[in-house]
Point group: C2
Chain length 191, copies 2
DNA sequence: GGGTGAACTTGTCAATGCCTAGATTGCGCG
DNA sequence: CGCGCAATCTAGGCATTGACAAGTTCACCC
């Protein structure tokens, strides 16, 4: 898996080097700040080298999104309860912020990429199976769980929860959040 | 308010013209696709004219974000229940997709803009007052409601709910979603 | 009718994405 | 061993963009 040989002409593992550099940039300043030429400079190769591995900008981001969906699907697969599913989702977003920021932005990605479609399908399946057997219809239950986790993760990464969390661990806060929701449901004050 | 005079040199209402053009572009292809020179062309002015009104790209997006927070705060102010608050939130995202896509992306905005900070504060206040008086602590309740609405709105705009909605009205689906959540809370199968 | 400042233009520069053509390397195959 | 071949990377160029600087037009006011 880990090829770290340094060669003169051939980089050895340029594809992975560019990916990790891209993840650094995205995690720091978002996908907009990403420049293929900058990534090439960081890897010590010519400005057109990345194009060989990813074709273009959308290709690179699509590869990242596909990798992200693979990781997310694996993480969700380890959840043992519905609430745990949400925690895993939030944990993934916090652990892989760059992947997460790219995965749900169709305008940045190749619309017809096979690998991405397959990986995205795996994530969807994990969501669906974890929600199976709840009341009402399946689609609504999936949307409820997904919206909750995705909203929290998104607001967390965009630093919109800083004032509300003030220091608390995000995962703990998310757990408390679901508890709160369930309690207020048992005793709805406003309807 | 509506100045529609066509003059030779001075555009008349270039600021608004650029804003609406920008909203069109963003709604169609996201903030990344936005080009100041393209907006200038659409308005029939020189390529540097927008800079006079917005300084730079971040200035334009900041103005849009501030306007969006003003509109959102107003919409939330009309909510008469907690659930209605969520519906208003989702409705706003659907009605003003361009504003919504910019409002929660700090990396695209001026961090120290006064007008934006004030408008954002108004939105926050609406969220807090609407959630006041619920059980547990205030911050957790706000995060719960906000995550739910924001997650649904975000997934909706990024077309990630297409398969799950399949034709249904998003607002109706969101209402059903909250119902589902409250019901499953009363009868938690997986906990 | 002259000054003042806002609104806009023109010109320029560095950086970027993408394309094309060419160079280098490693590898299979005889 | 060596020959071809494909994968990998380089070099150069073009159109577009954001940002900046300096100049121009115009409305307004005394």
């Amino acid at each position: 898996m880990t090829v770290t040989t340094e060669r003169a002409y051939h980089h050895g593992d340029l594809r992975r080097a560019i990916l990790t550099a891209a993840l650094d940039v995205i995690a720091a300043d978002g996908p907009t700040a990403l420049s293929l030429r900058d990534l090439a400079r960081r890897a010590g190769v010519s400005h057109a080298a990345p194009a060989h591995h990813f074709k273009d900008r959308a290709g690179l981001l699509t590869a990242i999104a596909a990798e992200g969906h693979g990781l997310l699907a694996a993480a969700l697969g380890e959840a043992e309860s519905l609430r745990d599913l949400g925690v895993q989702y939030v944990r993934f977003a916090a652990a892989y912020p760059a992947h997460f920021q790219v995965m749900f932005r169709p305008e940045l990605l190749r619309p017809d990429d096979q690998e991405l479609a397959a990986a995205r399908e795996r994530t969807r399946n994990q969501l669906h199976t974890a929600v199976t057997g709840r009341g009402a219809d399946q689609a609504t239950a999936v949307m409820a769980a997904w919206s909750m986790a995705h909203g929290f993760a998104t607001l967390l990464l965009s630093r919109n929860l800083d004032g509300l969390l003030d220091g608390r661990d995000p995962e703990q806060a998310f757990l408390a959040l679901t508890n709160e929701l369930f309690q207020s449901a048992a005793n709805p004050a406003t309807g």
